[in-house]
Symmetry: C2
Subunit: 174 residues, 2 copies
């Protein structure tokens, strides 16, 4: 005697993303997600293996989101970096989770290749991969530190971001 579905995998992952931002990783509980989608916690196990799998799915959805934003940008060094930072500001917990949880290689490659593409046009094909790693590492670290509140020696944080972009262009050009 089939019962109409009261939720779906996509709805669960979306609720997980929102709960993550509201309550942090420790607050991303099965009971919390269940409440948001309107079922009891045990029902989630029909669609998700366990909490770790849900966390992975939330991380994967965030990487997918990021890849889409990078592709939708003007693909310049500056455009890519600002799109990356904008996502991190909108979903800081999701940003952190991308580096704490495993995401599908295919999605990571999609985001990575967009950046390598852009890097090639600045530093040349020969150094494209090294250049992409330089820029991505800088942006990733800048955002991590910014979110951790590590920039408290004063100064202008937005200005430091622009300074970094300009200095990287100089360093890559040579």
């Amino acid at each position: 005697m089939p019962t109409p579905d009261r939720t779906s995998y996509a709805e669960i992952v979306a609720a997980g993303r929102d709960l993550l931002e509201d309550s942090g990783l420790a607050g991303l509980t099965m009971q919390g997600v269940a409440q948001r989608v309107g079922v009891r916690a045990p029902s989630l196990y029909k669609r998700v293996r366990d909490r770790d799998a849900l966390i992975e799915a939330v991380a994967a959805a965030t990487v997918d989101d990021l890849a889409g934003r990078l592709e939708a940008s003007d693909r310049s060094l500056e455009g890519l970096a600002r799109a990356y930072r904008a996502l991190a500001h909108e979903r800081p917990e999701g940003f952190r989770l991308m580096f704490a949880a495993a995401a599908p290689q295919e999605l990571l490659d999609r985001a990575g290749l967009t950046i390598v593409d852009s890097a090639a046009s600045i530093a040349g094909e020969e150094h494209a991969l090294d250049a992409a790693r330089l820029v991505t590492a800088w942006a990733t670290g800048f955002i991590h530190m910014e979110l951790a509140g590590a920039f408290r020696l004063g100064g202008d944080v937005d200005g430091a971001f622009d300074y970094g972009l300009a200095a990287l262009r100089r360093g890559l050009g040579a």
Copy 2:
């Protein structure tokens, strides 16, 4: 009727650091730490407010460790970056925790000022803070990505680190 102490705050924090590396943040449990120092979990509450306070103390000990290593390096751009990366390779979970948990401002400033000092000699006093943030952000992001296994498009990761150091020197010199 006093009882001889069976453990100490320092021993608890040290056990926490080791357990963190062995079992990850989720594995850093009060029961696990208690077992390592030879008491029962409730006894830890005589010396530590709660699990969050213990996690903060572990993060602070890691920042203190880092500050000491930076000060003991030759303080060149390359020396600082390599000392940072070496710590992260030895204590990857501790490195991650520095950006996930709050550490005392005084310790963070101590580490930060060592880097600003070095940056000043390369980019000039005027841009010292921006330059320090560029280098620190790059190293932090590089290590985060490396630890997350995000460098899987091939190529030589150590080579990419050296390429980054050289490009940053070029970009900062101008």
